[in-house]
Symmetry: C2
């Protein structure tokens, strides 16, 4: 099998990650920070180390504001619903967002809690800081922008956007699902207030944990209520971080895998970047020689996400042929990002997304290119 759906989940999980998960399962099956006994404390220490490492890696000013949750969608919901439900206001977002941002925002709009402006990409496929600045109103309470489009790989200038939002003291939420682990992110330097991470992608962690990192300037109110191991007498959710946003038993094996994945990713970031760039150039060269191919990646995109269609095929037909005849995994359809496909003009047929991973080889790329050549005639 040749796997090119790393934009959904990276197939490769390094031995360090698998080892950390196995150790957690065999030696650390207790509740972190819920009891005073030695094993609970050892679990608690591991979770604190993971918070500290994540804060360091992503430039979050306070490890207590690194919140573990279900997945990146959960992180985005906690940020969007937790920040906006009691506050309302006008929100600026973009057509490049995933449904994990679009759907919670549209739900709040439907309930008349917020009003919404959805920015379109410019001719380079990106959301500019100028466009964000122009969309701001006196009532704007949040700007929500994806760092990298999961459809086109376009990289939005979050640093420039952060300069605009911080000037007006409007919190900036960045969906880093596609960027974390691949390109540097620093919440402090880039004026990011809420950062949502999908560790099972670029950090090579297991599925089963999301992370929301919260800056010091804005607070988020809990939307999930339950046991926090703190203020247990109270029938109401406490306000302290991280407990307020972390009800119930933490996914310790996945958190342990996340910590191992962060260390692995930090250690190999330069070589991974070079490897993915090489593979990307190789695939780009192959694709540029094929006929009947329509490509959708802007020039400034990530370089390891390739999105295309072939002739008059529906995208799902191409991905089915690749799977059935070549045992190659890519992703057709809309990638849960309908407005990005509206922008591209591909809402009907979708597009074929090829997302490279660090374990892909030049041979994998050549094999894929040959398959695409045979399909495209």
């Amino acid at each position: 099998m040749t796997y090119f759906d790393n934009g959904a989940t990276t197939f490769y999980k390094p031995p360090e990650v698998i080892g950390a998960v196995t150790t957690a399962l065999t030696r650390l099956s207790a509740n972190a920070g819920r009891a005073g006994h030695a094993l609970s404390m050892r679990c608690g220490t591991l979770v604190v180390r993971a918070r500290e490492r994540a804060a360091e890696f992503f430039g979050c000013p306070n490890p207590d504001r690194v919140v573990f949750c279900y997945n990146c969608t959960d992180a985005l919901n906690i940020a969007i619903q937790g920040y906006l439900t009691n506050k309302g206001g006008h929100i600026v977002t973009t057509a490049l967002e995933h449904n994990s941002v679009l759907r919670p925002l549209h739900e709040l709009e439907r309930r008349r809690i917020i009003s919404l402006t959805v920015l379109q990409p410019d001719h380079t496929g990106r959301i500019t800081a100028t466009a964000v600045a122009s969309a701001l109103k006196a009532t704007t309470t949040l700007v929500a922008v994806t760092h990298i489009s999961n459809v086109t790989g376009a990289i939005n200038p979050v640093s420039q956007i952060g300069e605009v939002t911080s000037r007006y003291n409007i919190p900036l939420l960045v969906d880093a699902a596609q960027s974390a682990g691949y390109i540097p992110i620093d919440m402090r330097e880039n004026n990011i207030d809420f950062l949502a991470i999908a560790p099972h992608k670029g950090v090579h962690a297991p599925q089963g944990v999301g992370v929301l990192l919260i800056g010091n300037r804005h607070n988020i109110t809990a939307t999930r209520y339950g046991g926090t191991g703190s203020s247990s007498r109270s029938l109401y959710q406490p306000a302290d971080y991280p407990e307020s946003l972390e009800s119930g038993t933490l996914p310790l094996p996945a958190v342990a895998g996340f910590l191992a994945g962060l260390n692995y990713t930090a250690k190999h970031q330069a070589s991974h970047s070079a490897h993915l760039a090489n593979l990307g150039h190789r695939l780009d060269n192959h694709l540029s020689q094929l006929k009947n191919i329509i490509r959708y990646n802007p020039p400034n995109s990530l370089g390891s996400i390739f999105t295309l269609n072939i002739g008059n095929y529906y995208s799902g037909e191409v991905s089915d042929i690749l799977s059935e005849q070549y045992n190659i995994c890519v992703r057709g359809g809309l990638h849960c990002a309908p407005l990005a496909h509206t922008y591209l003009g591909t809402l009907e047929r979708g597009a074929v997304r090829i997302s490279l991973g660090v374990d892909n080889t030049a041979d994998d790329v050549d094999y894929l290119a040959n398959a695409l050549k045979e399909i495209s005639g």
Copy 2:
């Protein structure tokens, strides 16, 4: 280390569970049901098998209504908030509930969305069906009852309560965090409409997945919005189960572990029950010979949860001594169940909870009893 905090998380994870998690990490790192390629389909098949096995194990009428989520607290929040936020009404619950039920209900009460009746246990420490029947009003929209108290081990008569609630067509939510895997539960037979499970306890699954099972009579509206791999064009959450309630990437390793844990638990349920009963009797005999011990378990309780205090010690002092001097893990404090401790008169000092696990031995129990004897003088 001798671990007696299995009511929080069972320490023992069988090789089948660890193997299933490792296999998922090494061979199944793709997104279940999100793409048409072979690996996504294989992941999807595993998730469907886990739904089917859970539906069979807990008597849920429809596997599509077996919903995977973050943890049991998340399952309870999805049920409570998803069922009540748009509906409101009068809710009947109990003083034996964990904060994972009490806090979401009190939050909805504070927002004036619902009104709340909290039933006290009778002299046997249980919530009777008669008490539930007496508390119902014409406006009652939900009854939420824990199956087994996490503080006392008291077993509530959910079957009798289900007869009452089904007679009035009021949905019954059962928190099975402490019971699932230990005593039989059948949603159909017991007229349970919403069942919340903590697989990392009695099912011996990894931390990192909760399960909400939904009967056919009542529906739950989504409270988390995002990519569902279905109806991707829509900017609003679809209504189909399970997608509607499962936004974002599923925790495949934990789901694989849950399936393995269910099979393991089903296979060993009789021998586990006998073993835990033996250990329970042994500990009970030891405790009955100790002086200065106050015990809080009603006679009809689970038999593997022992809750006590010693002399004038705060519960946290006893658990600290056990941890530091004997390397024994138990849980002091309030166990996130403040109203249960109010009922017991232990809100100030808390209580020491000893919760046995299937890997505990007679020697473990004797060692613990000896430590308690030395502490109690």
